[in-house]
Each structure stands twice: as structure tokens, then as C-alpha cells.
Subunit: 394 residues, 2 copies
């Protein structure tokens, strides 16, 4: 008697989650140090010490009724002002608190944007490789997902394929750069070309094609890679952010939707985002954590660890003969599977207690995702297994 | 171009919120002590001191990556076990952690239950007077709300009206006892009769009519009023809870859905609740606050203040001639409006800087809601205004 879609969502375990659970079972048998689990994107570095200090300060200094009480639905005004000031400084823009809508993380932010922008029958374009939950969230909004196939040389955009997908039904396009799972960052050239195409199509279709920039990995960019600020390049951009990765707070569920005033019908878009938050049961983002985010929004955890891990793994895997696209950010590596069947390769690795996720789950077969947000010794321990697999398959 | 439903939700300010905003503006003009704001249901007593102590202890003792990291989607297993043990003890039942799904508060829990249980075309029955957001959440689940008219003598259930509403389309019935806004508690006799009727109809319709018990006010019950544990009385009960009121943590968004194993197709219902959480973008409930709830789940804030406020206001208003139903719990009083037009009476009060909410917003015209979760001096200050209104209208 239950809703079949919800049942399917609840019963379908993701490949990632299955690998992770398998790893925990294996660890109980062979010992944790002999399981090389690269399945989950859970930050491995501690939050900056200011996180603990701020929490202590907040519970000491603030009136507890105000600290733990409801905030206004879009978030505490002082919190939003502080975050807006930080964005203004960092991106040389004029962001105001009233353009921000605080959310329980990026997933909630995406759901709010999609429900706000989509009508039944609309389409939303995503780019492979992609975060698989996009499909779920787009369906919740009553729209259909159209996947632009991966450009697997530099993991930028296949513009011919994108142009073919754009239509008067396109309500929104989602970009995720730095990208989970490819680790690529869209260059300014790529984004300018994207902006030009979307402007042209918006004019042609007589409706704005909104761009949703999902950027929880913004701060994890390597070797000075520039992560362009999209609202500067494309007028109709909504930014969805989360502090999950930058402050290592994924369980606390805190992020925002930024609806710049420049956006077409921005007041209506903002109101619809807030209305979607209401419809989905989000009363406000967690109140203590809102204040924490405001106090720490200019800080990050020690993200250099990820760059070191990326460098080590890339060098070693390339020496073994793997084809590894240049990692530019995030904590994922997305090498080519040595055999076309990435699921088979993942299973072969799993038989050696090396857990890596097949690219097909990200709409990009022929690759595997290595989540290297793990202790260094796990990477070092896994290298002989990667080598054994290379010798067998390459 | 935005979604019209979401826009309407975002633009429609609730009467409650409008009164509250008006109060803030007036306070700036005439001084806060001259505005008698009884509009909002925001707890006025501090959380118990253990809340602050527990937060300090958690940030000191726990590995910060684990403390702030993702938990499993239904919540940290140890947290769920601890809460289950507390429920088992308190209600003489056998509740297991795996029957609990932690949520970002009761609103999220209601959305998850409704999306899990409803198919398009289904109906959900609620009882006036009712929390107005029910209508929004039911619509999100694609169902239609059918409101059972209020029984305004004792604010129990009009069973003839309920029976007329029950049909093969009824997916669920929502009860909220102790009740916002009436302050009434359903007696064991009322709930047994409800259970008998729903059992009969479930058999007749060949589908279980699930009962959703929305009980954030469970612990705020006066003079030893018993708040019966519904799963003991009706097999197909889901419990939705929030610590917002009992621990004075409404901004922290923490609660649960309890799907007892006895429920028809309980495994499927639980999976669908979890699937709905996924579809709505709830990755997990806030991780630090999950641990806080587990540590403090047997405690409450000092709730006696509400009972004292209830007694004072009831006595005084009755002496002035108002008809005030006996408050049994919550922090709301729901007297009859002295004139049939409750909105007009609310406006007359507003003109004297007394802010009380018309009952029509709760599908129960002819009454007004007084949220007495306020400092005592505000109640005392408001009494002359209530008296002046009584002299004018009674």
C-alpha cells in the first residue's frame, strides 16, 4: 500500500553504500588495515579548531532560547549578512543577506531550487559523470533528467551534445565543478562558452535557462586551479553551497542557496525557493550550526592533505600504466578502467579487498571512482593491490 | 517561469507570522513591554542545563570527524538504540533502534510519512482545529486533505463526521494530541473509539488506514493528564516526534518517525519513509544534535512554567466572562471569540497591541489562539487589555 517510488528509493541501496557496507563486514573478518576502502566521500580531515571553539563560545555566551530557537525560515538575518559579506569580499561582488536562503546542506538546496524552477513536463540537464542523487531530486521536482554524455578527455563539456539537449522544456542546467566524481574543474573558457550558449537559447526559447551551480567542493582545488564564480559569467545562475567538505561538517547539514538579485525574476525565484523549503518540511536550517557557519565561513579544514593524496595516487597509478585524468580538485580520482567493463573491474578489485566505485553509477562507464579522503597509510597499503590489478589487466 | 505552487507557498505569509512581524514593528514604536505578543509557539523556557553540558562534552570527547560526519541516513545506530530504550521504558513497549528514523524535526517526519503512505488521488484526514502546515505537507505528498470539523465542546472527535469522511481513498489520519491550538488531550476513551472505527474501516476497505500521531507536545500535559501511547491502542500507528518543545530546541530540527514492527507491512512502510527522506533531500538529521537528543531524551526543560501560565490565564479570562476550554497541555489556550467573527476580534485586540491568532487559520472559526509560552509579566500586562475587550464585547 505504500508509495512505490518512495519504496524503491528506500530499498535501492546505492553501489557506493553497498561497497562501503561490504568493507565493514570484511574489516571484521580480515582486520581494518587489510581493507582498502575508497568508496565513500566522507571528509577525512578534522574541522578547523575554530569549529570546536565556536561551538563552546556559542553555548556559553548566547541566550539558549535564542540560540536553539526557531530562526526565520531563510535563516538568521545576522548569519546571512555575515555570509553575504564573506561572499562579497571573496568574489568581488555585492551579495546581500536577503539573497541567501540557508538550507540543511546542498542536497536540500538542490531540492529547493529544482522544485522552485520546474513545472511538470520540464527537463533538467546534467553532465556525466554526475552525482547519482541528481536523478532522484529532479524527479521529486516533477521534471525529467537529460544527461549530457561525458567528455572524457578533459572532463569539460561536449557542447554539441549539450546543444542537442537544450529545448524549450529546459528549466535548468546543473553544473558541479569541482566535479564529483571526475575531480575536474570547468575552466573559465568552458564556462564562458556555456554562458554564451545558454544566453542564446534563453533568448530563442523565450524563457531563462537557469544554471544551478552545485559547488560543495569549491575550496578543494589544486595547484592554484581557478574555480570561476559563475554569477559573474552567467546572469541566471543560482549557487548551491554546503560547508560539508570545506569545514568537514557533512553530518551537520548546513549550506545555502544564493539567488543573486541579477537573476531574471529574482524575487519570484527566491520566494519559490523558500516556498519549496516550506513544502518539503524544512522549517529552518539547524540554528546552532547556522551561527557556527557564519563564524567559520572564511575558514577551511586543512585541505592540503587532499592535494597530497591526489598527487601521490596519480603519480603511482600512472607509473603502473593506468590512465588517470589530471585531478584539479575534490577528493576523487576517476581513472579509466583497464577493461571496458568498469563493474567487472570493480569486482576484481573487491576480490582483493580494494573498494572502488564503477563509473557506470555516475553515468560514465569505463571509469572507476577512487575517493581518496582516507588516511595516507590506506593509500600506501592499496598501491600493491593496484599494481597487481595493473599487471593482470594492462 | 517559477513553479506557481512553490511561489504561492513562499509568498503567502501565515497570519501568525504577520501578527508576529507587526508586533516587532510596534515594539520599536511603543516599546516591547507595551506589546502583548501571544502569536508564536516558540518555547519560552531554557533547555535543561544538561543540553549545554552535553554539547560541551561531545565536542571535547568525540573524534570531530565522527561527531560531525555523515551518519547513516536513518540516524546513528547507537543514538537510535538509546532513544528506543527510552521509549521502551517509558511506554512499557519493545521498541528497537531499527524501527526509528531520525528526522530534521516533526515537519520533516510528517512529510516523510505522508510521501511514504500516499498515492496520487489518496486522501488524508485531519481534525480541526489543526496546524495549518498539514495542508501544505499533504499536498506535497500528492494527496488531498479532508478536514473533520471541530468538536468544540471538549475538543475531542466528532465521530459521525469522521465516519462520513473515511473512504477507500483514505491513506492516513493525522492526530495531534496534546493539540495545537486547542490545548486539548484526546482521552483514552476517544482514542479507543477512534481505533475501533479505523480497524473496522481498514477491514471494510481492504487497506490499512494508517494513523499518524504527531506528538511534539507529548510532555506538556497538565495536572497529571494522561497522554495515551497510541501504538498500544491501534496497530497501524506511526509516531512522529520532535524535541522542539520538550527540550526547547525548535531551531535545531531534531525528531523521529517511529514505525513499530507491528504495523501492517512495516518493513515496506519503514523503507518508504526512508525513501521519502532521500527524495526530499534529507541526507541525515544533524549529527551533533542527534547525539545531543540521545543523551537528553529522558529530560525536559522546566515545563511547569507552562502549566502555571495556563492556570493564571484560564482563571483570569474566565472571571472576565470569556469561555475558555479547559487547557490540558501544550502552551496554547483556545477561548471562544466573544463575537462570531474571530478575525474581527483579533483585529480589535491588535488595535490595543494584544496579538492573538484567529481560529479560522486553524480551520476553527469562532475561537482565538493565545500562545502563552511567554514571560509571566507579559501575561500580567495583557490582563487589562483582555478585560477592556471583555467589557466591550461580552
Amino acid at each position: 500500500m505504500v508509495n512505490r517510488d518512495m519504496l524503491a528509493y528506500g530499498q535501492a541501496r546505492s553501489v557506493i553504500r553497498e561497497l562501503f557496507e561490504y568493507g565493514r563486514q570484511r574489516a571484521a573478518v580480515v582486520g581494518e588495515e587489510h581493507v582498502y576502502d575508497f568508496s565513500l566521500g566522507n571528509p577525512s580531515v578534522a574541522p578547523p579548531p575554530e569549529v570546536e571553539e565556536t561551538i563552546r563560545r556559542l553555548v556559553s555566551e548566547r541566550d539558549p532560547c535564542a540560540l536553539h530557537g526557531y530562526t526565520s525560515a531563510p535563516g538568521d538575518p545576522a548569519v546571512r549578512e555575515r555570509i553575504a559579506a564573506s561572499l562579497s569580499r571573496r568574489f568581488g561582488t555585492v551579495c546581500k543577506g536577503e539573497e541567501l536562503y540557508l538550507t540543511c546542506g546542498a542536497a536540500a538546496g538542490l531540492c529547493c531550487c529544482l522544485c522552485a524552477l520546474c513545472q511538470p513536463g520540464d527537463e533538467v540537464i546534467t553532465f556525466a559523470p554526475l552525482f547519482p542523487e541528481y536523478g532522484v531530486f529532479i524527479r521529486t521536482a516533477g521534471a525529467a533528467m537529460k544527461v549530457c554524455p561525458a567528455e572524457t578527455e578533459a572532463f569539460q563539456i561536449d557542447f554539441a551534445a549539450l546543444e542537442a539537449l537544450l529545448s524549450p522544456k529546459t528549466a535548468a542546467v546543473i553544473v558541479n565543478s569541482p566535479n564529483n566524481p571526475s575531480g575536474a574543474v570547468y575552466s573559465e573558457a568552458t564556462l564562458k562558452r556555456l554562458a554564451a550558449l545558454l544566453e542564446e537559447k534563453s533568448r530563442a526559447f523565450g524563457r531563462p535557462v537557469y544554471l544551478i551551480s552545485d559547488e560543495p567542493y569549491r575550496e578543494i582545488a589544486f595547484a592554484g586551479t581557478d574555480v570561476p564564480w559563475l554569477p559573474r559569467l552567467y546572469r541566471d545562475t543560482l549557487v548551491v553551497y554546503s560547508w560539508s567538505k570545506s569545514l568537514s561538517l557533512p553530518g551537520e547539514r548546513i549550506g545555502y542557496v544564493y539567488v543573486p538579485a541579477q537573476v531574471t525574476e529574482s524575487a519570484q525565484v527566491y520566494a519559490a525557493v523558500a516556498g519549496a523549503g516550506r513544502a518539503l518540511g524544512y522549517v529552518c536550517a539547524p540554528s546552532l550550526i547556522q551561527r557556527l557557519a557564519a563564524a567559520c565561513c572564511d575558514l577551511t579544514a586543512d585541505l592540503t592533505v587532499y592535494e597530497e593524496n591526489a598527487r601521490l595516487l596519480t603519480r603511482e597509478l600512472r607509473e603502473m600504466g593506468y590512465h588517470v585524468p589530471r585531478p584539479q580538485g575534490t577528493f576523487y580520482l576517476f581513472p579509466r578502467s583497464p577493461i571496458p567493463d568498469d563493474a567487472a573491474f570493480s569486482r576484481a578489485a573487491q576480490a582483493l579487498d580494494l573498494l572502488i566505485v564503477p563509473g557506470s553509477g555516475f553515468h560514465c562507464p569505463g571509469h572507476v571512482r577512487i575517493a581518496f579522503c582516507v588516511p595516507r597509510r590506506r593509500i600506501e597499503g592499496a598501491l600493491p593491490v593496484f599494481r597487481a590489478l595493473a599487471q593482470r589487466y594492462l
